[in-house]
Amino acid sequence: MSSVAVIDYGMGNLHSIVKALQHAAPEVEVVCVSDADSILRADRVVFPGVGAIRDCMQALNHSGLSAVIQQVAKSKPLLGICLGMQALLTDSEENGGTPCLDVFAGHVVRFPESLKDSDGNLLKIPHMGWNQVHQQQQHPLWENIPQDSRFYFVHSYYAQPDDAAITAATTQYPDAFTCALAQNNVFAVQFHPEKSQAVGLQLLKNFLHWDGQA
């Protein structure tokens, strides 16, 4: 039986992601853990997160999990979700500038104020709701997910990778931004697959069967 560890570092509620993983692949053992050994022992690792990046990085640094995640990023399939994705970049401009884990080279930036859509209506921040995910490359995690499927988002910041080649998908709000990153055995998404109904469950299922190769 293969296993997946969901990293619990006190940032938000893990109920949804655990339930969704169990639902997506009942044959996989899902554990919710906060210690290095359990994380390193699992076959795959999910790194979720909601809230502010400074709190997130403080929790990771104080618990020693930063180094563990960096180690996982070199060795086995890793899926970052929402704030978990943002924490994998080099740094974020949130909270006056916060150094992050530097698994993906690049920065996390905020949506500009007073964005307007083509009809001149104010675009709300956070970017909240179901938006289309445009796959920019073929990847095992996109298997059986139609191009431009809608996933559920809620965020005010987004990733800007230095190398556009690691962008796995983009979403428009109103301009295109990177909503998924792929590099070797690491995949990360800004949206919430655990809240994105059938397509979200499919992505989790794909991750739980992924060998970490692109």
Partner: protein, 257 residues
């Protein structure tokens, strides 16, 4: 290609059963919340909101249990409102599987609670519910005031100023209900919806008064809402969520189909 406008069915839950009051009197039983949530999910609901209207504190565990059951099989965002007064109430609902909580009267009696809740759990899960009623006379510039206790108690607080304040305090979303329209099936209070939506930077959910599918579309087009919430038109299978979405799409609104 852009963000879809959301349709959010709302389940008023009393002691573990879905009910819907018509003008707050005739409370009709509409069934089992888990079963209904399952149906809405199948029909394409973008989120589901549970409003706990159970009067007694003893029965509050019931709503947590309902959310827990729904969250283990329905994978879309779930919001719980009604009786959220403490950080512990919020924690309990999030642990049960809710993604967001709606704070209503506790925000009015103690605005700092919204700030504490947003700091502790993140703005993304804090929805401030605003019940507003028109207080200006015909011919005067429109003014709406915050009411509590199911629309019976005026507070003297201006609705637009209050919405802005709640966003400053950390609300990630505003659920706006017109107490003049709630239960009437006459449609949203569109000038109110538009005034609030244009005043705040966060998404606004329009609520109160939906009687037909055009009302939903009007809330988005004229009210400038980001999402529309309705209860009774969906409970009694008058319309399915899918029909509602198709109707909105036919009026040029981007929806998730």
């Amino acid at each position: 290609m852009s963000l879809a406008k959301r349709i959010i069915p709302c389940l008023d839950v009393d002691n573990g059963r879905v009910v819907k009051g018509v003008k707050f009197v005739d409370i009709r039983d509409a069934g089992d919340p888990v079963e209904i949530a399952r149906r809405y999910d199948r029909e394409g609901a973008d989120e589901i909101t549970f409003l706990d209207i159970t009067a007694t504190h003893d029965n509050r565990d019931t709503i947590a249990h309902v959310v827990e059951q729904v969250a283990s099989e329905v994978f879309i965002p779930l919001t719980v409102g009604g009786g959220i007064r403490t950080l512990e109430d919020i924690r309990r609902m999030l642990n049960a599987g809710a993604d967001k909580v709606g704070i209503n009267s506790a925000a009015v009696s103690n605005p700092e609670f919204v700030r504490e809740a947003a700091q502790r759990f993140g703005s993304q899960c804090i929805v401030v519910a605003i019940d507003a009623k028109k207080t200006s006379l015909p011919g005067e510039t429109s003014r709406w005031e915050i009411f509590t206790h199911g629309g019976r108690k005026p507070t003297g607080i201006d609705a637009i100023a209050w919405a802005k304040k709640m966003v400053d305090y950390g609300a990630g979303e505003i659920l706006l209900t017109s107490m003049d329209r709630d239960g009437t099936r006459e449609g949203f209070d569109l000038p109110l919806t538009r005034a609030i939506s244009e005043a705040v930077s966060v998404p606004v959910i329009a609520s109160g008064g939906v009687g037909n599918l055009d009302h939903l579309a009007d809330g988005i087009i004229e009210g400038k809402a980001d999402a529309v919430l309705a209860a009774s038109i969906f409970h009694f299978a008058e319309y399915t969520i899918e029909q509602a979405k198709q109707h909105m799409a036919s009026r040029g609104i981007e929806v998730r189909l």
